[in-house]
């Protein structure tokens, strides 16, 4: 079973990389961009076959390792 975890910075947390990319995009002439925030995605393969169980276990992985909940939040999507 494949799953995708997306980890993004919480609102209000400064994102230097996002800002740098925004600057670079406008430097390249892409003028219509009003904000960029960078996050991470993890594509996992799990041996679970039950989506609920898979999701619960991946949630635990996020809490313990994949996200730093001081500044980040996460979403989990089971891709089947």
């Amino acid at each position: 079973m494949r799953a995708r975890v997306v980890v993004t910075l919480k609102a209000g947390v400064l994102d230097p990389q996002g800002k740098a990319i925004e600057g670079a995009l406008s430097g390249l002439g892409f003028s219509g961009v009003d904000g960029v925030r960078q996050g991470k995605v993890f594509d996992l393969v799990t041996r679970h076959t039950d989506p609920t169980k898979a999701k619960a276990e991946i949630g635990a992985m996020c809490e313990r390792l994949l996200a730093n909940t001081v500044i980040e939040s996460y979403t989990i999507e089971i891709m089947g």
Partner: protein, 232 residues
């Protein structure tokens, strides 16, 4: 002083740290592999050195914070034992929640290696007692992710309780927005826990301990720790 330097896969400033510790107390520290579950008997100072533990993959310090030895380090800290984390060590301490907040990418995005000026915010700690409060010291930084951030409540708590050890300042010791090379909140370069027995800092005092380094200002930190432990 019985010091232990924890070596994680990817640590790379453990030798620099060991040299500084040896210079300060005469005996070399124990080098402890991260997979151990206990500290050497009688350890009174634990040091997490700089480097790129686990390649800094995922988040700096995140994977190392889960190493077997870290429970023992936590216990040591809880008992009031001294814990110092420098650079990657600071990042690990934050990820292990032994210090508040987290270190994110430098405001300028790139890695930066250069001497910086720090203002010593307090001499009332086992790590800084050899400095004068307000003293300006010069030590190098070498990091890409030294930008300390936390939610505003945490920042307020840190400031109210006087838990800031060092701030980035200018040549004349003045702190102002912009004197930090990495965008750190309130120009914070080094931070204590509530009991001031745990210190994390981004700059490298161990690389400013002899004339060859162009500055000996970092040695005060090692002498402070040695003094504090000798008095204890």
């Amino acid at each position: 002083m019985k010091a232990a330097v924890i070596v994680f896969p990817g640590s790379n400033r453990e030798r620099d740290m060991a040299r500084a510790l040896k210079q300060a107390v005469g005996t070399p520290p124990a080098m402890v592999w991260h997979a151990e579950t206990a500290l050497p008997a009688g350890t009174d100072l634990v040091v997490l050195p700089g480097g790129f533990s686990y390649g800094d993959y995922l988040r700096c310090g995140a994977i190392a914070a889960l190493s077997p030895i870290m429970s023992a380090v936590s216990e040591h800290a809880k008992r009031g034992g001294l814990v110092l984390g420098v650079c990657n060590g600071f990042q690990i301490l934050c990820e292990a929640r032994l210090l508040p907040g987290v270190l994110v990418r430098n405001a300028g995005v790139g890695f930066l290696c250069k001497p910086v000026h720090l203002r010593v915010e307090t001499s009332a700690s086992p790590f800084t007692r050899g400095y004068r409060r307000g003293e300006r010291i010069t030590v190098p930084i070498a990091h890409g992710e030294g930008n300390w951030v936390a939610d505003s409540e945490t920042v307020a708590k840190v400031e109210d309780r006087g838990l800031v050890a060092f701030r980035y300042c200018d040549e004349r010791g003045r702190v102002s927005p912009g004197t930090s090379p990495n965008g750190a909140t309130n120009e914070i370069a080094g931070l204590f826990n509530a009991k001031k027995n745990v210190l994390g800092l981004m700059p490298h005092p161990e690389n400013a301990i002899e004339p060859a380094h162009g500055s000996t200002d970092g040695f005060g930190l090692f002498l402070s720790m040695a003094g504090a432990l000798a008095d204890a």
